[in-house]
């Protein structure tokens, strides 16, 4: 330090709770890094009451992309070594919080797999958490046979009849019906319940949790929620065609309903939503049996229809509707009585291009919307150049003006190393977006690089298309601004790059890239 920083250190006057509030706006890794700023920041981080221990934070970049299944490879010495390091870090931190009597409000632990020798240590952590009256507890621990009984032991034991738990989240944890019932009876203040893929839990009965606001369940065959008058949000996900059943009769204030993978009939669906007159947000995914939807609501604001493969028609009479997000055009016909502010159709492109007609259809489809449309474009595959030889986009006729749209959200799910250029040419032949954005930076690295190169390093006066009457997009693009945005709150920040190679060093995790295009 050369002491060139002038003026008083503003952060010195902040009370500890303000530091903690700032840390809570950051992702865990970002928050941990602030400890290097000064001793005051280290103290703030060391007393931060929200503990978030996720194994993949410790994995090197190459490993952090691995799926849960890969990380289970207990025998891989590298993974095992990192896991041990992680567990030691958690243990050290937990002991320090206990020793220094630092409060803990939230605790999250995510480990894919652990050796049984760690069982007694995890037992000790949960004991510490319960002593500290942790309010939010989220555990994601695969294959952990005794965790349910452990939680029951700590949460339900002792002389205190009521434990002030507000949020319980369990994923891949083994817990049975009796254990979870005991926990509910001891924790009547629960506001939020997330039970995902919990083995041993086939039936969930929730009753008399008067504070309950949010319930997210996945792969539980039977869900019954009774006497939860304040329930606002219910998410029910079923995968692999598992049986399902749910009953949430006594929650008239439900605002947010998300159902995924439920094969329900039109009748069932309409009977269901008739019971929730205050629904603001409705989302259906992979509900394959539904064919026709007819909704009338003055309250509904947001409607999402994704991958409902047999859905033919949706009639929505909702004057206050703000956004509609859906796919499967044009086989799905959507009609609304008043146009919502935000249409968000999503095109899933599987790679089958039959020639020029595919693109003409896409363009006609885009033209059927007004300019304010936000189009999601998911590319699962794209034909190689040689298969596209009879679709020379540069020579494709410009039928009339290319439609301008507000925002194109591009997501690519396969390696497009060789065909980035043809993808970009096709997209810009079909529409001219005012904004183009990509969310997953790591996955789409090649495409982003290519886009940057094509958009930023283009010539002012392109010499292509000289002999042709119709000119490609390069001749219409006037100006490009590039920037990054936070995935969490969509806050945008322009980036000032000299060349496309400056892009990646200036991008952080949890960010996406956008291009603002002036045509």
């Amino acid at each position: 330090m050369d002491g060139t920083i002038e003026g008083i250190d503003w952060t010195l006057q902040l009370p500890e709770e303000s530091f903690h509030q700032i840390l809570s706006c950051l992702f865990t890794k970002e928050a941990a890094r602030t400890s290097v700023l000064s001793k005051t920041w280290l103290r703030a981080w060391s007393t931060y009451p929200n503990l978030d221990f996720v194994e993949s934070y410790f994995m090197k970049e190459s490993l952090s992309k691995c799926s849960d299944a890969d990380l289970k490879g207990k025998d891989d010495p590298k993974i095992q070594e990192t896991r041990e390091k992680f567990l030691h870090y958690v243990d050290k931190t937990m002991l320090r919080y206990q020793k220094e009597r630092t409060p803990i409000n939230k605790f999250r632990l995510h480990i894919t797999s652990v050796y049984p020798k760690w069982a007694s240590i995890i037992d000790k952590w949960i004991e510490i958490l319960v002593q500290k009256h942790v309010e939010e507890l989220e555990l994601h621990l695969s294959d952990y046979a005794f965790l349910g009984s452990l939680l029951k032991k700590h949460l339900c034991n002792g002389i205190i009849k009521c434990y002030p738990l507000q949020m319980l989240g369990l994923k891949k944890v083994c817990i049975n019906e009796e254990e979870i019932q005991d926990i509910f009876s001891r924790c009547p203040l629960i506001k939020e319940l997330r039970l995902l893929d919990c083995r041993g839990l086939k039936k969930l009965q929730v009753a008399n949790l008067h504070n309950l606001k949010t319930v997210h369940v996945k792969n539980i065959e039977e869900v019954e929620i009774r006497a939860a008058p304040n329930l606002q949000s219910f998410n029910y996900v079923v995968t692999n065609g598992l049986p399902w059943m749910f009953n949430i009769d006594s929650s008239p204030h439900l605002k947010d309903l998300m159902l995924m993978g439920l094969c329900m009939t039109d009748r069932f669906f309409h009977d269901l939503i008739a019971r929730f007159p205050l629904l603001e947000k409705l989302e259906l995914r992979f509900c394959h049996e539904i064919r026709r939807i007819n909704i009338s609501s003055r309250i509904l604001k947001s409607f999402v229809l994704r991958y409902c493969l047999k859905l033919e028609e949706a009639k929505i009479d909702a004057p206050n509707l703000l956004s509609v997000k859906y796919d499967r055009m044009p086989s799905l016909s959507i009609t609304t009585t008043t146009s919502p502010q935000k249409w968000e159709p999503i095109v899933n492109f599987l790679g089958a291009i039959t020639g020029l007609s595919s693109f003409i259809r896409l363009r006609e489809f885009i033209m059927s919307f007004n300019q304010s449309v936000t189009l999601g474009f998911n590319v699962f595959d794209w034909p190689e150049k040689k298969r596209l030889k009879n679709v020379d986009l540069k020579r494709m006729p410009l039928i009339d003006q290319v439609p301008v749209i507000e925002h194109l959200k591009l997501r690519v799910f396969s390696d497009l190393r060789l065909c980035c250029e043809s993808l970009v040419d096709s997209l810009f032949w079909s529409c001219h977006p005012r904004k183009l954005s990509l969310v997953s930076i790591k996955l789409n690295k090649t495409l982003i690089e290519k886009l940057c190169e094509m958009l930023m390093e283009r010539e002012d006066d392109p010499c292509c298309c000289s002999s042709s009457n119709s000119k490609c997009w390069r001749h219409y693009l006037k100006n490009v601004e590039i920037g990054s945005f936070e995935l969490k709150n969509k806050v945008e920040r322009p980036l000032h790059l000299k060349t496309s190679s400056d892009l990646f060093p200036s991008l952080g995790e949890h960010q996406g890239v956008y291009f603002k295009l002036k045509w």
């Binding site: 250190d9 503003w10 902040l14 709770e17 706006c25 890794k29 400890s35 000064s38 970049e61």
Partner: protein
């Protein structure tokens, strides 16, 4: 007058650390949990309420925020959101930290949330020396100490320049 009719336009006076007095409508003051608690207890609204930690410039900003939020109806959430983002947009860091202190002291949750978020956004992905300069943070570590803290949290620096 001896009338005890509830008056919606009832006002109270707040006094900043540098002695400036602000006349505030009661419904605006209620945005602050601190003032709300004071009014709920035996504190009379005829008294001048001193705020010894908040200077006039900051208090004016805080009251501007409170007025906007007190006057807007709940249906105008979109309008309030754009007001919030404009409110802090070009604010200098010194004023922003003063605002956090004031919002914390007066217990104005919404203001504290947006101000803390703004500070957090400034920290994100910036090298430490740059953050220290922006916030005027005095680095009180010896190089050895700093290296030790970094080593302890090495997992958090994975992939960070």
């Amino acid at each position: 007058m001896a009338s005890s009719i509830e008056n919606n336009n009832e006002k109270l006076t707040l006094k900043s650390s540098d002695g400036e007095e602000f006349l505030v409508e009661k419904h605006v003051a209620l945005q602050s949990t601190l003032l709300q608690n004071m009014l709920d207890s035996d504190c009379s609204s005829a008294d001048v309420i001193p705020l010894p930690k908040i200077d006039a410039r900051t208090l004016a900003l805080v009251l501007g925020y409170c007025k906007k939020h007190a006057d807007a109806s709940s249906s105008k959430q979109g309008e309030l959101n754009s007001f919030d983002s404009e409110f802090l947009k070009d604010m200098d860091m010194g004023a922003l930290f003063n605002l956090v202190l004031a919002a914390n002291f007066m217990e104005i949750k919404g203001l504290l949330d947006i101000a803390a978020q703004k500070i957090a956004d400034t920290i994100k992905d910036k090298p430490h020396q740059e953050v220290r300069e922006i916030f005027h943070v005095e680095n009180d570590y010896t190089p050895e100490e700093e290296a030790a803290v970094r080593e302890e949290n090495r997992w958090a620096f994975e992939g960070f320049p």
